[in-house]
Amino acid sequence: MNTIGKILSNINRQVIYLLVFLVVATPMILGIKAKVTITEPVKKAYDFIDSLPPGSFILIGIDYGPSTFPEMNPMLYAILRHAFSKNLKVGILALQNAVNIPIGAQVLRQVAKEYHKKYGIDYVNLGYKPGWDAVIVSIGREIRDVFPEDAFGTPLDSLPITRNIHSYDDIALVIDLASGGTWASWIQFAQARFGVPVIIGVTAVMGPESYPYLQSGQIKGLIAGLKGAAEYETLIHHPYMGVRGMPAQSGVHLLIILLILLGNLGYILQKKRKEV
């Protein structure tokens, strides 16, 4: 008993890493699928976007970078596919970091191509502006004060999509896909002060702290982590990176639970032995 307890309490960490790698890689190589159940926060986000009339302008904040790319990019793909399938007009901008814009622009270009959408008519890239609190407040007055031009230097008045966009009154929805603090500023300033509907997509780490805003009705929906992205992909019937990652995600969670149980069992067995 003591030997078993010792073994269980002292599993080599390299063995654990190898197990985690195998549990992640195997379902991907074998193409194993997992059922994705839809939760209310994601359904609310989907329903709100689905209810927008065609031609509505939505603003998407690309506020995540390469470090959270695997969690956040699937969300952007799913939301853009939904938006373009509903013929919504899309504008992207970055307030947290300038490097986020190329990430968002790449996805935007790819999805726009899938749906035969044209730059300047159906979608626009506004680029990056520092000082997010001030920028969010300024958009409430006149978007041209902070974004006189798009990311390529074209004045907003020259683009059909932005010609009539001036403030939050002309924006049907703001979606912030964030791995930092920008989502809170969109709620505090754009939603609370100007009343524009806000949906947030955040990393799983930030999920729990965002839930109170859903309960209070300050946000119309919440997508958290890769699981949230997988749910959205399921809702739009377009399984992609999120759904593909779910079997690995569930597998590692099961492995972690098993390891916690084994570690505790080992500890109890060793403790009992000492008591005897």
Partner: protein, 211 residues
């Protein structure tokens, strides 16, 4: 061709960083030092290219510092004042722009917090304690209200957590612990997601084992 080189480089550095899981080694060290060096250079160029040049230097060159551009004197002077931090004897000059930044942040933060967090969140806690024909919502509302009140009790540090007060605060601790548990679970999920992304890159983009 360039894309292929990029993928191979990314795969090499991903594996170099992963190699630390076995033990520290030269490959990890190379990746780590390159990362630190590139980051330092990147942020220097970044601040110039995305903040200083487009918001200050470019408008100054194009339209000068008069008329509607006269407002640029403020960031220009503050920037110069901030640089005095590098001269210990005149370092006190940098406190002025620093005070401006702190004041601006506090002002924006305070109004945002009151208008966007405090009041809406307080309003969201005013709930029906009896919802007809819906016991689950009733239980949920009770849990929410008890959770909020007992947690606030826990954060009263001006009174010793003893007697009835201590018992209420202890209930608050239970709610806080549940919240920590949820946060930890979500954190694990996030880290695993990032690993899935990297493994997906290695198996898909690099080795073409998955589509």
């Amino acid at each position: 061709m360039i894309e292929t080189i990029g993928i191979w480089l990314a795969a090499f550095f991903t594996l170099s960083i992963f190699s630390f899981l076995y033990k520290d080694n030269p490959f990890y060290k190379i990746a780590e030092h390159l990362y630190v060096g590139i980051s330092a250079a990147f942020w220097l160029i970044y601040v110039w290219s995305f903040t200083v040049y487009p918001l200050l230097v470019k408008p100054m060159i194009e339209k000068g510092l008069w008329g509607s551009n006269a407002v640029l004197w403020i960031p220009l002077i503050f920037s110069i004042m901030m640089l005095f931090r590098l001269v210990p004897r005149y370092g006190w000059i940098s406190r002025w722009p620093m005070a401006f930044t702190v004041g601006l942040g506090a002002g924006l933060g305070l109004t945002g917090a009151i208008q966007g967090i405090l009041f809406p969140q307080m309003r969201a806690t005013v709930l029906d304690l009896w919802v007809k024909n819906n016991p689950l919502v009733t239980i949920n509302n009770w849990l929410l209200i008890i959770g909020v009140i007992t947690t606030i009790f826990y954060f009263f540090f001006s009174q010793e957590h003893k007697g009835a007060f201590g018992k209420v605060a202890r209930v608050g601790i239970a709610f806080i612990m549940i919240s920590f548990g949820a946060s930890f679970g979500f954190t694990v999920m996030a880290r695993v997601s990032i690993l899935i992304g990297r493994v997906g890159f290695l198996l898909g983009d690099w080795l073409h084992l998955i589509k």
